[in-house]
Amino acid sequence: MRGQHLPAAVLHPDVELAALVDAETSRAEKLRAAYGLNCKTTNDYRQLLTEVDAVVNALPNHLHFPVNLAAMQAGVHVLSEKPLAVNATEAKTCCDMAEQNGVTLAVGMSRRFQAGHQLMELLLAREELGKVREYDWESGSAWSWKASSGFYFSREQAGGGVFIDIGVHVLDCLFHWIGPVTRFEYQDDNWGSGIEANAILHTLHDAPHGEVRGRVRLSRTFTLKNRLLVTCEQGTASLDEDSPEEVAIHKRNGRQGLSMTLHPEAAPKGSAFYLQLDNFVQSVRGHATPLVSGRDALAVAEFVEGCYASAKRIPEPWSEIPQLETATGGSR
């Protein structure tokens, strides 16, 4: 909340911050003082639901569902952090509730608001490099997320590891740009009841213009290439995580190639989180629809669930070792 959502809310001219909620009121109080805000602080969100128009829910993953639901039941609009819920059933309940109660439900897949992602979407939609044939997306580095609680290492509370955390961003974009995945093979390195730190997904999309094959690799332990490379009929387009505002393209033209870096002509001002909040505000007012809706997030949640259900272990041949035989012949 502190790093992204709050600065966006403070900056937005149409947002009046009513309250900051944290399980530890003292933390909310510190934040309020740090930003010089004139708003309430509390550890009980329920008492506020009759007083506010909208909620930004940036709680740990397992609390997205109950708080989203309670808010929407009370007729309050919700911008929920991703994942919308830790499983598809809960995600669907959220979508149904939003529709029944006529409230806006937007989901925080903030990457879709980054200029580079929007450029990539435009390039692919307009077939500037011809039709898409394949893609390779790698995202990974040594993990450094400072969560106040250890929920990230509980399967019940986080819903999973790197795949539900970073994978949802990637899948959301891929579904949006290329369409649904028709076949896939998913592997991760969860050794049992743990949380995967690495995930590898091979996909096949039956797109209207033909098959698109893809590979997604995610990691919380290793620094990967951290870029999306899309191969099209006439060239490649790549989106580097270090330069999220641009897309590098290489267009083949006979024997010669042409490389260039594209920037948006008139990118809207503000961080991805600011633009996301603005889209939410406009949606609540009926002037727009959420760029990432509850249904978009539900499609991702269903796919993630299917991947986890069919997960195979990533082979780790360097880890295999015969059990140790003791002098008495017992294995250890």
């Binding site: 993990w143 450094s144 997320w145 400072k146 969560a147 250890g150 990230y152 290492f153 590891g161 790197v162 390195d189 969860n190 050794w191 049992g192 009841s193 743990g194 949380i195 995967e196 730190a197 919380r220 332990t221 290793f222 620094t223 990967l224 290439k225 780790e316 041949p317 360097w318 880890s319 070792i321 015969p322 059990q323 140790l324 003791t326 002098a327 017992g330 294995s331 250890r332």
Partner: protein, 405 residues
């Protein structure tokens, strides 16, 4: 009852050795593995495993009491902050003693004989002596604390691995980085004794120590039992790379001559001041201030949060302190047309043609002693199962997977 059926606490579990210990315990069927975790952000590797993460700090005795709840065996791979190694081990031993632990496996180090062990320390019976190296002396003093507990009947065993390598080891990842950056160098033709210990061989020894008889209070060297040199180790990494990097050569006498030319701390600090005044630098570019700062932060882990926050504030203030250097330097540079001095170091300014290893690497890579594992073989029943050639093959497979290669 097999020790693997009892609750085991692994300290240092987010580290290279502790992480592999957790994996191997799970592979061996242990159902009650608890990992002591200081910083959850470092836990993704062990977060994959069906084990329990217990947040605690080796310098916080209260947290150790909680971490030992219902534990019967401790595998102590943890170090704590660089200047807190001895305290961390003492705290863990005390907490374990109070918790009636059945067995305590202390991961010591062959570095108790210094980074460059002198001739005559091939076996565990050789007398220990401090060498002035912080890490080596800390491991030595920690072993002495262990010995005091053992003499009072506490069931503890010390294992002394040497150069522990394997998947996730910084020996390999750092070396690959150095080689790729063109900084690969063999000291004295790479003939120094490397004493490799493949991580799974060490874990074999740890697992054997869980219930081996007649081992309490003993120390054991644990290595691969092969006469691997640093040249063998470094060249094995060179062979993994494409294109193959060049290896420079440097002799001990050249390194000695290089360091002899270096000014001492006081001299280099005095020399740094005028340079600093001509640059947009900060106080931390004065070597003596930088060293003091590093020492303070090495012990910061032992401080409470409030004290650490006070230190952070002080550091911010010092970093932001306006020095004469800012305004003066711009005027001076415009007058004299000189380049901005961005850092002040102890070097004489001439980049040597061959990368000069730091003092620790120099010492480490020029030893002549190959430690004997005869005692571990005889008493612990230890036999290294992964030879160097296989260990390197596994490291290479992992480095490719982790995209270091």
């Amino acid at each position: 009852m097999s020790p693997l059926d009892t609750p085991i606490l692994v300290t240092g579990a987010t580290g290279f050795i502790g992480g592999r210990v957790c994996e191997r315990l799970v592979q061996a069927g242990a159902k009650q593995v608890k990992a002591l975790v200081h910083t959850l952000q470092h836990a993704p590797r062990i977060g994959r495993l069906p084990i329990e993460l217990r947040v605690g700090n080796l310098l916080d005795r209260q947290s150790l009491r909680a971490a030992l709840h219902e534990v019967q065996i401790v595998i102590h791979c943890g170090l704590g902050p660089r200047r807190g190694i001895v305290t961390a081990t003492r705290n863990m031993l005390e907490a374990a003693q109070n918790a009636d632990i059945r067995r305590f496996i202390h991961i010591s180090s062959a570095a108790v004989y210094g980074l460059r062990p002198p001739a005559g320390v091939e076996t565990e019976s050789a007398a220990l002596r401090t060498t002035g190296n912080l890490y080596a002396d800390s491991k030595l003093r920690a072993e002495r604390v262990v010995a005091r507990f053992a003499s009072r009947g506490f069931p503890v065993i010390s294992l002394r691995p040497a150069i522990v390598y394997g998947p996730y080891s910084s020996w390999s990842t750092r070396l690959i980085g150095q080689l790729r950056g063109g900084h690969g160098v063999l000291i004295d033709a790479g003939e120094g004794a490397c004493n490799t210990t493949y991580v799974d061989n060490l874990v074999d020894a740890i697992i054997l120590a869980l219930d081996a008889p007649h081992v309490l209070g003993e120390n054991f060297f644990i290595t691969d039992g092969e006469r691997i040199t640093w040249g063998d180790f470094i060249r094995a990494h060179v062979d993994m790379m494409d294109p193959r990097p060049q290896l420079a050569q440097i002799s001990s006498s050249q390194i000695e001559a290089h360091y002899r030319k270096q000014p001492g701390l006081i001299t280099s600090s005095l020399k740094a001041v005028p340079k600093l005044l001509l640059s947009r630098g900060n106080l931390f570019q004065i070597p003596i201030v930088q060293q003091a700062h590093e020492r303070v932060w090495e012990t910061a882990g032992a401080m409470n949060k409030e004290r650490r926050d006070q230190l952070r504030t002080l550091r911010r203030k010092l970093l932001g302190m306006p020095l004469l250097g800012g305004p003066l330097s711009s005027v001076w540079r415009s007058v004299a047309g000189i380049e901005q001095v961005t850092s002040v170091s102890a070097s004489n300014g001439h980049a040597p043609a061959t990368p000069v290893p730091d003092r620790d690497s120099w010492e480490e890579q020029t030893g002549a002693v190959f430690f004997s594992i005869e005692k571990a073989r005889r008493i612990l029943g230890y036999e290294p199962r992964i030879p160097f050639s296989e260990g390197i093959r596994r490291v290479e497979a992992w480095l490719r997977y982790a995209e270091y290669l």
